[in-house]
């Protein structure tokens, strides 16, 4: 045990930390600040644009604030978690490793004096920051634009009423969704030459997960997020499948459960990364 501690202490942690930061900086520059990411901006900000139109053209009757609260909850649960964040993260995180292999540029990183685990975690961190910043900012716009039209009542709701709690919950959902889907897509891109069939199966799995046995529900990002929703979304038909709360779980259990799932996935990704070979001709 003492040997293990000594070995851990002897590792060049400060160098790894510097490399991690620099790698992440390079990746964020390439992920976030690029014209090619326009479609992710679109996915993130399209609700804000629609809500902005609503702000301009609709008369905000005080009675419709509850309805708007339900609509915002629906946007988070049905649009962001199921479509926007899902496809956005699919684009961002699949590109991190598989995209570099397709572009035949991954070898430059594998030939740098950086441990492969550090490369992987830095890439994951950069992808997460990109996704969280984009979707977090978009959500903030959505929230503010949705209630600002109600004047004083809207401001009161946002600053003192149930608003702050709901906003925090939505933000937490967004962060966890980005991390959860991000880790899974990173894993799929390390496992398969074409991660898309796997990703689309995951999409289907996330949809049918509520009707699965309790144990299988643990292997789903959306099932954890569902327990964190501050407002239950009234949905009918097939959409009810996406919003139904199955077994009630405390919020902290859901958060820790999802973080544990992410940790397990990342550890597996590190193992895959160590064994990764550059064979572009077969990709």
């Amino acid at each position: 045990m003492t040997d293990l501690i000594r070995t851990v202490q002897q590792q060049p942690w400060s160098l790894w930390w510097i490399q991690f930061r620099r790698f992440a900086r390079i990746e964020i520059r390439r992920n976030l600040i690029t014209k090619r990411a326009w479609w992710i901006y679109f996915l993130a900000f399209v609700p804000a644009v629609i809500i902005f139109i609503h702000l301009i053209v609709d008369r905000h009757q005080p009675s419709s604030m509850t309805e708007d609260t339900n609509i915002l909850a629906g946007i988070v649960q049905l649009y962001y978690v199921r479509l926007g964040v899902f496809f956005g993260c699919l684009g961002i995180f699949s590109r991190l490793i598989r995209g570099e292999m397709i572009e035949r540029s991954l070898h430059y990183y594998l030939l740098s004096p950086v441990r492969r685990e550090v490369i992987l975690l830095a890439k994951f961190f950069a992808g997460s920051v990109s996704a969280v910043v984009l979707f977090g900012v978009a959500l903030t716009f959505d929230f503010v634009l949705m209630y600002i039209g109600y004047g004083g009542a809207g401001q009161d709701f946002m600053l003192h009423g149930a608003g702050p709690g709901q906003f925090e919950a939505y933000l937490l959902i967004m962060v966890l969704a980005c991390l959860g889907y991000g880790s899974l897509f990173l894993m799929l891109s390390l496992m398969f030459r074409n991660p898309m069939p796997g990703a689309l199966l995951l999409w289907g799995w996330e949809a049918i997960n509520p009707v699965m046995p309790s144990l299988l529900q643990k292997f789903s990002v959306a099932s954890y997020l569902r327990h964190l929703m501050p407002v239950s979304v009234p949905a009918e038909g097939i959409f009810a499948l996406l919003t139904v709360e199955t077994e009630p779980v405390a919020a902290w259990v859901a958060v820790i459960g999802l973080l544990a799932l992410i940790a397990v996935v990342l550890i597996y990704c590190c193992i895959r990364m160590r064994r990764l070979e550059i064979r572009y001709t077969t990709d």
């Binding site: 090619r36 996915l43 399209v46 609700p47 629609i50 809500i51 139109i53 609503h54 053209v57 609709d58 708007d68 609509i71 629906g74 946007i75 049905l78 649009y79 199921r82 479509l83 926007g84 496809f87 699919l90 684009g91 699949s94 598989r98 995209g99 397709i102 030459r193 074409n194 991660p195 898309m196 069939p197 990703a199 689309l200 999409w203 038909g237």
Partner: protein
């Protein structure tokens, strides 16, 4: 005079007629599409619902078997709604198959910068797209109108004559409805594949292009309190079209009951957008991105 000029003779034999050249591309496209085991797997999977429906038809048309298995239940009534449901199921399979096949047809050529080489052959850009389009439409026909019409023919054979006479419109609806869907779908898939360039990403992008506008449409309808946002939901629009083509009485959410002109406009605009994208992307040039 150089040796080259002495001995070189240009090819003077017969050449493929202009109108046949896209068919050559279609043939290679089909070989490329069906060379994947996943394509075969998906195609087999797509026929399973048809097999189930075939069994149901048999039961419905065989009074003794029907009595033994389901009693007098109305579940087994073979009518417009029955074929409508089957068309919906098969159209989802067509989407999955198209999302898998289309990137194989186009993205390889674009990803490897092969377009200048391909278009340096005596084939036009239109011919290139037409060839790929034919390959995709033929592949999708295999899971849509072909099995559906075969099932219809079986039903005509197995049921009393008045059924066939009374439901001839269903055959027309099945063929036209499926054809409209696979034509629009093929254009969308080819356009997305040519835009995205990477095969790996194109499959995901095709699903995103179908479902994200549906989600956006849902938001527009919810936030702006209007039903017109649902026009962005192509699956919903197609369902409405099929209902009318097959003569199914309206059911479901009344907010989806759009006028015919709106449905046709959505499909035409979508197709035109796809053609514009194809026109912009399928060019004999190497795109160098910084």
């Amino acid at each position: 005079m150089s040796v080259f000029q002495h001995e070189y003779r240009p090819y003077e034999g017969p050449t493929t007629p202009l109108w046949k050249r896209p068919v050559v591309l279609a043939r290679y496209g089909l070989a490329e599409a069906w060379g994947s085991k996943i394509t075969i797997g998906l195609a087999v999977l797509a026929l399973l619902p048809c097999l189930v429906e075939l069994v149901l038809m048999y039961l419905a048309d065989n009074p003794l078997a029907k009595m033994l298995v389901v009693g007098n239940s109305k579940v087994l009534e073979i009518n417009e709604r029955f074929f409508f449901n089957l068309l919906e199921v098969q159209s989802w399979f067509a989407l999955v198959l198209a999302a898998w096949i289309a990137p194989r047809l186009v993205s390889f050529d674009l990803g490897d910068n092969a377009m200048p080489i391909l278009l340096s052959h005596p084939i036009s850009r239109f011919g290139y797209v037409l060839g790929k389009f034919i390959a995709l439409v033929l592949s999708l026909s295999y899971v849509t109108w072909i099995p559906l019409l075969l099932l219809f023919v079986y039903q005509c054979y197995a049921s009393p004559v008045p059924w066939a006479v009374g439901h001839l419109g269903v055959a027309f609806g099945l063929f036209t409805g499926a054809l409209v869907w696979i034509v629009v779908l093929s254009l969308v898939c080819l356009a997305v594949s040519s835009w995205v360039k990477w095969r790996v990403v194109a499959t995901g992008a095709i699903f995103a292009v179908v479902f994200v506008p549906a989600g956006v449409g849902g938001m527009v309808s919810a936030i702006l309190r209007t039903r017109w946002g649902f026009l962005l939901n192509v699956p919903v629009v197609m369902s409405e079209l099929w209902m009318r083509l097959l003569g199914v009485p309206p059911f479901g959410n009344p907010m989806f009951w759009f006028p015919n002109i709106a449905i046709v406009s959505v499909l035409v605009v979508t197709s035109l957008l796809c053609v514009a994208v194809l026109n912009a992307r399928i060019r004999a040039r190497e795109v160098v991105r910084g």
